[in-house]
């Protein structure tokens, strides 16, 4: 008989099993009797003797049953059936416990699914662990990520011994012109073997081959799955379709599968030879024309550290060979990092903090349910004692209590699993801000296993302590004949400790949330350096091939501004390359141009100072109302025929000319073709790259002297979105092939720029409120039990003349003592823990005194109320009844 068949027979063919046993033992008995008679006993004697020899029939049967494997399962089922009955008999307790656990487990499941999807799930590429990113860095001047030039890509690709392949990637925005559409597309420009190195196979058609990258090859495109689906309606015959781009026909050769794209989401892909910038001879020849990101795949069995050593050798050779390209003072070097690390760096601290907070909430939930359990055990004490006295083993009793806690936690886990998807949807939106892996978040096996595991661990945690404490002294429990059950000192201490721990942990969470809120308020109150109200903005992309001459482009911009400014309701309008809170600007970061001040030459091999450069049309500062501090702003006369001019921000003025007047000084960009520019004005600082960011040195240059600026900002007299259709129409009048997108108001962009701290603050706040409510319930429950247990003593006190108020005060004082103790521990813990938050805080110290003081006061008030409610029960105690209870 196979083991499973045996278990099945034992559990489900029980009558046959028992009947067989009975028959067998009866047979044995009869043979014994016959044997005895054969030896000469009388039948009665024979029967008696046989029975004596056999011993207890029922005991033998029981031992036979115990010898079966199915027996363990059977007792377990019995325990669970009993547990279900007990839990259903106490609906209040059960509901409370399940809800508490569901919230705790649900929150953890949701956050873990994000952490798993973003940080832990293996990359969806062939042997994704071998993929690495290369970063050039200038450690001495704190620039961690310098793009690569064509020369550098070649040097690292051909010089290394540890990478099996090296590919490059950069993005450009081009106009994709179809039969009757012109659309701006994010274009990834990649090496021909890019997809082969990642191990991505096309859904349709093919990806690039080496000949596509050859100079003069026919232009080809690979579409991303998303672009193909949303913009081309998943056209099944798309391969072979011809679009126009950069004034050349481009043929679609393939569509990518629905994988998340790395390093960024792009609409279309093209080989390097097709990008007009990347393939320009001047760009290729210039070692310092840097634009590309570089990936590689480690050779089999090569460790990251040996690749690092290998590439560092090349970096040292480059520094020696080209001192002008790698200045001594810069600390040039190269860093190799696993792709998975690189893609998730920004998300890491945020989600680990959230997972930590969710874990703490679950701990509090555990402590609370353990407390409820203990309170219930008090009523169960005599029953347990009786069962122990009747022969139930301690192990068996404990197992039964544990099956109750396991059932509760599994029920909690199930409900939590139903709640989790709601939270997950929100978290995914949030995660999108940090990583392209957000799409990989889903509820699948690893997550379900995690939920099951934490449910079981939770059940063990809150079940074990009460189970241990309850089955210590059955004798003592029985001795309290007929009396009220009182709490053993040890158990009382355990409950106190649980509440203390709850209070301490929820205090820590509240402090965390308090700090986040304070930091968020500071962030929101920050003056952005201009007035974002009633500012409409949109992005315009001309087809560069239609405006081959700079003068044509400038004439178009002038024409466009004239048209827009003529619309009723438009106060002023201007063009710029970037404006504060522009999501494109925030994503790509400052331009980090090198520049030179007249009279302060940069010696060879020294690092030139860095500056951010924004190109703006006349009227820009007036339109966004960035205040002019001295000198003048740009006028329409600052054009190609006039002297080159520049406006700088206050930070740059203070930084570069701390004691002198900057106006009238001359500056120029390095490497560009421009000559010296005269500083004509100083404007106030604007938070170009978002609130809370450090303001950088900024040089503004006029549009007509610099070329191109695709963002239009419009100050309106009323609700700016109402004006958007008119502005679009005006642009269409100028040139119907101008692509217009990203229509928005600066105010909403400002809000969007702080979405991640806002969501983070809300989540921490939710966790903290949840924790506080749960532990307030914990305090109330403990005090309520203490009052009902001591009703006899309290009655006696009242009979002896104690005032009710005095007794209420006494009870509240005890509750507060618990809260103060917990708060003290919480403060100590928070002083350590909040350091982890420091990187997420703006202008707020992790030990901010006001937050600590405010949260302590708030918390103690909650604790006082929580203990006052049960304390009021005291007033309902009738001394006569309480005394008679004995």
């Amino acid at each position: 008989m196979t083991p499973i068949a045996s278990i099945f027979r034992f559990l489900f063919r029980r009558q046959r099993f028992e009947a067989g046993n009975d028959a067998e033992l009866r047979f044995h008995m009869e043979r014994q009797i016959e044997e005895n008679i054969r030896r000469g006993m009388t039948p009665e004697e024979a029967r008696r003797e046989a029975r004596l020899l056999m011993g207890g029939m029922e005991q033998i049967k029981e031992e036979c049953r115990d010898a079966r494997t199915g027996r363990t399962i059977e007792t377990m089922m019995q325990d669970f059936r009993y547990a279900i009955r007990v839990l259903l008999r106490n609906p209040g307790f059960t509901t409370m416990a399940v809800i508490t656990l569901a919230l705790g487990i649900g929150a953890n499941t949701a956050i873990f699914s994000v952490v798993y999807g973003v940080l832990l799930r293996p990359l969806p590429f062939q042997r994704g662990g071998q993929l690495v990113v290369l970063h050039q860095e200038a450690s001495a001047v704190n620039v961690p990520d310098i793009p690569f030039s064509v020369h550098e890509v070649t040097d690292y690709r051909d010089g290394n011994h540890t990478l099996s392949s090296v590919v490059e990637h950069h993005t450009m925005t081009f106009l994709l012109i179809g039969k009757d559409s012109a659309e701006r597309v994010e274009t990834a420009v990649v090496s021909a073997n890019f997809f082969d190195v990642l191990g991505v196979r096309p859904l349709m058609g093919r990806t690039f081959v080496a000949s596509d990258e050859a100079h003069g090859a026919d232009a080809v495109l690979v579409l991303s799955y998303k672009y193909w689906q949303t913009r081309l309606h998943g056209d099944p015959n798309i391969v072979g379709t011809v679009f126009h781009m950069n004034n050349r026909p481009h043929t679609v050769i393939g569509v990518l599968p629905a994988l998340p794209q790395y390093p960024v989401e792009s609409d279309v892909y093209m080989p390097t030879s097709q990008c007009p910038f990347r393939s320009a001879p001047g760009f290729i020849a210039n070692r310092q024309a840097r634009m590309m990101t570089v990936f590689g795949r480690l050779k089999p069995d090569v460790k990251l550290t040996s690749a690092q050593a290998d590439l560092s050798t090349i970096a040292r050779q480059l520094t020696r060979a080209y001192p002008e390209a790698y200045p001594k003072g810069a600390g040039y070097g190269i860093k190799v990092e696993a792709l998975q690390e690189d893609l998730t760096r920004r998300a890491r601290s945020i989600f680990l903090v959230l997972l930590g907070a969710a874990g703490l909430v679950l701990l509090i939930a555990c402590a609370n349910v353990a407390n409820l359990f203990l309170a219930r055990l008090l009523k169960l004490e005599r029953e347990l004692a009786v069962r122990a006295a009747l022969g139930a083993s301690r192990f068996r009793l404990m197992r039964q209590l544990l099956s109750e806690s396991m059932l509760l936690s599994l029920a909690g886990g199930t409900v939590g699993l139903l709640l989790a998807p709601v939270a997950m949807r929100l978290l995914m939106k949030f995660a999108e801000r940090f990583t392209t892996r957000a799409d990989e978040i889903r509820l699948d096996w690893p997550i379900l296993v995690f939920t099951l595991l934490i449910s079981l661990v939770t059940g063990l945690l809150f079940g074990l302590a009460p189970a241990f404490s309850s089955i210590r002294h059955p004798n003592d429990a029985l001795k309290q004949a007929g009396g009220r059950a009182t709490m053993s000192r040890g158990r009382e201490r355990l409950r106190g400790a649980l509440v203390l721990a709850q209070v301490a942990v929820s205090f820590m969470l509240l402090i965390g949330a308090g700090l986040m809120i304070r930091s968020f308020v500071r962030l929101q109150e920050q003056y952005p350096g201009f007035q974002p109200e009633r500012l409409l903005t949109l992005r315009i992309t001309p087809s560069f091939s239609h405006y081959a001459q700079t003068s044509q482009l400038q004439a178009m911009w002038d024409n466009l501004l004239r048209h827009v400014r003529g619309i009723g309701g438009v106060q002023s309008a201007a063009l710029c390359t970037n404006f504060p809170f522009n999501p494109g600007g925030i994503q790509s970061g400052p331009s980090n141009a090198t520049f030179e001040i007249e009279g302060r030459p940069v010696s060879k091999g020294e690092l030139a100072p860095l500056v951010d450069n924004t190109i703006v049309s006349d009227g820009y500062f007036e339109t966004i109302r960035q205040p002019l501090l001295s000198g003048r702003t740009f006028t329409p006369h600052d054009d190609q025929n006039a002297k080159p001019v520049a406006v700088i921000n206050q930070t740059m003025a203070r930084h570069r000319w701390p004691t002198e007047e900057p106006i009238g000084k001359h500056v120029r960009f390095q490497g560009g073709n421009g000559g010296w520019m005269t500083v004509v004005g100083v404007v106030g600082d604007a938070q170009e790259y978002g609130l809370g960011r450090k303001v950088l040195d900024e040089i503004y240059t006029p549009l007509d002297q610099s070329g191109f600026a695709g963002n239009l900002v419009v100050r309106t007299t009323f609700q700016p979105t109402n004006l958007a259709p008119l502005v679009r129409a005006a642009i269409r009048d100028v040139d119907p092939l101008l692509a217009v997108d990203q229509i928005s108001t600066v105010e909403s962009l400002e809000q969007e720029s702080i979405t991640s701290p806002r969501v983070m603050t809300i989540l921490m706040g939710l966790f903290a409120v949840l924790a506080t409510v749960v532990s307030a319930c914990g305090i109330a429950a403990v005090m309520a039990l203490a009052v009902s247990q001591r009703s006899h003593e309290l009655g006696l006190r009242m009979a002896l003349g104690a005032q009710r108020n005095a007794i209420v005060t006494m009870v509240v004082r005890q509750g507060l003592a618990l809260a103060i103790g917990g708060t003290a521990i919480g403060i100590a813990g928070a002083l350590v823990m909040t350091r982890l938050l420091a990187s997420l805080l703006y202008d707020t110290s992790p030990t901010d005194l006001l937050t600590f003081a405010g949260i302590s006061a708030l918390f103690l008030t909650v604790a006082a109320v929580a203990s006052f409610i049960p304390a009021r029960q005291v007033t309902s105690i009738d001394p006569l009844i309480a005394l008679r209870q004995e």
Binding site: M1, G20, L25, E30, Q59, I60, E63, A67
Partner: protein
């Protein structure tokens, strides 16, 4: 019942039961009688441990049971060795012999 009796260790009982079943299938009563006879009543098999042991051995898959007619034509449950049980018996016997030689040697020399 004047002879000195020895209590059986649990593992020993399992071994004896397997050995008894080596020749032919047998019912519980038969097993207990056979052990008693061969050991000249030195070893008394207690019913309270014999039947649980049979259940245990069956659960291990070393013996299997079926109903059949006994010598006096009554229904009885017969036990027989499975192939796995035969192997187990060989292992256990070798084990036992090694052990008893070792214990004997200690008793003689020490």
């Amino acid at each position: 019942m004047a002879k000195p009796k020895s209590d059986l260790l649990q593992g020993t009982l399992d071994l004896l039961v397997l050995k008894t079943l080596e020749l032919e299938p047998m019912h519980g009563w038969g097993i207990s009688q056979r052990i008693q006879q061969i050991s000249e009543s030195v070893l008394q098999v207690n019913q309270g441990s014999l039947y649980p042991a049979l259940h245990r051995l069956e659960e291990q898959g070393w013996i299997r049971s079926s109903w059949g007619a006994s010598e006096n034509n009554r229904q009885a449950r017969f036990y027989e060795l499975t192939p796995r049980g035969r192997k187990q018996l060989a292992d256990e016997t070798a084990n036992w012999e090694r052990l008893s030689v070792a214990v004997g040697r200690i008793l003689r020399t020490a």
